[in-house]
Chain length 250, copies 2
Amino acid sequence: MNSHPNSRGSAAACEARARELRDAPEWCNLSEVDLQSLERAQVRRSYQPGEMLFHEGTPCLGAYFVLEGLVGVRKADPEGNTTLIKLAYPGDTLGYRPFLAEEPHRASAEVLQACAVSFIECAYLRRIIHDNPAVGLAFLSRAAKALGEAEERFHETVTLSMRARFAHLLMVFRERFGEAQSDGTLFLELPVSRGDLAAMLGVRRESISRVIHELQQSGIARFSGQTVHVLRVEQLVEEFRPPVARAANR
Amino acid sequence: MNSHPNSRGSAAACEARARELRDAPEWCNLSEVDLQSLERAQVRRSYQPGEMLFHEGTPCLGAYFVLEGLVGVRKADPEGNTTLIKLAYPGDTLGYRPFLAEEPHRASAEVLQACAVSFIECAYLRRIIHDNPAVGLAFLSRAAKALGEAEERFHETVTLSMRARFAHLLMVFRERFGEAQSDGTLFLELPVSRGDLAAMLGVRRESISRVIHELQQSGIARFSGQTVHVLRVEQLVEEFRPPVARAANR
DNA sequence: CGCCAGGTTGATTTCGCTCAAGCAATGTGG
DNA sequence: CCACATTGCTTGAGCGAAATCAACCTGGCG
């Protein structure tokens, strides 16, 4: 991808190539005729960074299928503290949770990178799921996986240090945005700002700055804007091992 | 509930009355004949406190329907830190998540109070869900709600102080184990040990001890063993408001 | 009786937060 | 084209909530 033909400034953008409904694990189970009906029923739109798909506390109007771009799902509390619950990439469906739970939205969705999004309204969703059990099962499987991850996340949050969680987050980004070099080092193009990195870990922006500073000091990685060069991958992985074990082998 | 006929020493035990599969939101959708088939297929067993239903990391063999008692779902990390992900009460189905996600168990289930449990094996589960879309939808709805709660929990954990979260937990227990008095105070019978309270909030046992001490000092509640007498309910509710707002009106 | 698990209490440390200042990049109006 | 806000980030000093370490209490039980 180093010399990707249409690489742009942001590797995130380069990763984010368009998908169709039929590519998503939830919708691919539909018959051709149902798919075509769905494609007629969808409402497709473009969004600019900063625009909102929906707001916390509002009733759920339908689901949003991300074709292209990047969306962040946030929760905010009265004092303006905000946490980033998840990132939605092309191929992800958003807003299905409140629809299925028959609850209002418990979080807001904000476009982080220019998006193309298909909206599918509740009534239509309901019909599809009713008529096609396979679609329901696909959502079930996705919800079950997401639930497992959410529980894992809680466990990590209370168990691991900020530094360990940050290292872990970088390794999660590796899967999508990483570019291994032949010398064993790793290039990463972060898809979000420092502030949002902080919101993902549930810490302050300043704390992220400091941990980045440390990682540079210790020569593990170099940060420049949104791009990261990880020099010692295995040492970064070491970071999210027990604080005590880490102390032992220093 | 004040003068419940067969109330025992523990309010938890008093709450925990037996349920049948047909009472659960997931299974109540089955036809009578399917229900009877399911009732034949289930394997019913009693468990004593300390026994395990399943272990983290092991493959999922089926689902466990809690008829009576109390089960705790835990995650542990290599250093012995443990968090309590959730409590399962009579009427709850456990182990459905890994089954649906087709993953191994991501947590262990330990019996906290003597239980009666129905086990339903994977193959049978698969058949039921395949044949009865309504059952799948019921699980879908439950998973969607649980996911919302898990995300809420993460947000609270990083946003609120330990003290606020403890106050919140007490109010959650109120719904199930609370007994309002005519003088406006509230009796609570905690279903778990201090250690497990700590594990639910992701803090140390000592921290729970201290916060309990504080709540007693300030005359908000009195603790004695597993029973709590909340003297100033509204003040306890106040606790889980913004630290700054709280400081303002002191 | 002595042991042990679970809980409390105290002293100390530490990690991450708060508050505050400074800086670089970007934009905006005169 | 320059003064100057604005936004996002970094850095520093000090603080505070919860962790850690360690001692001790309490009640149940063999």
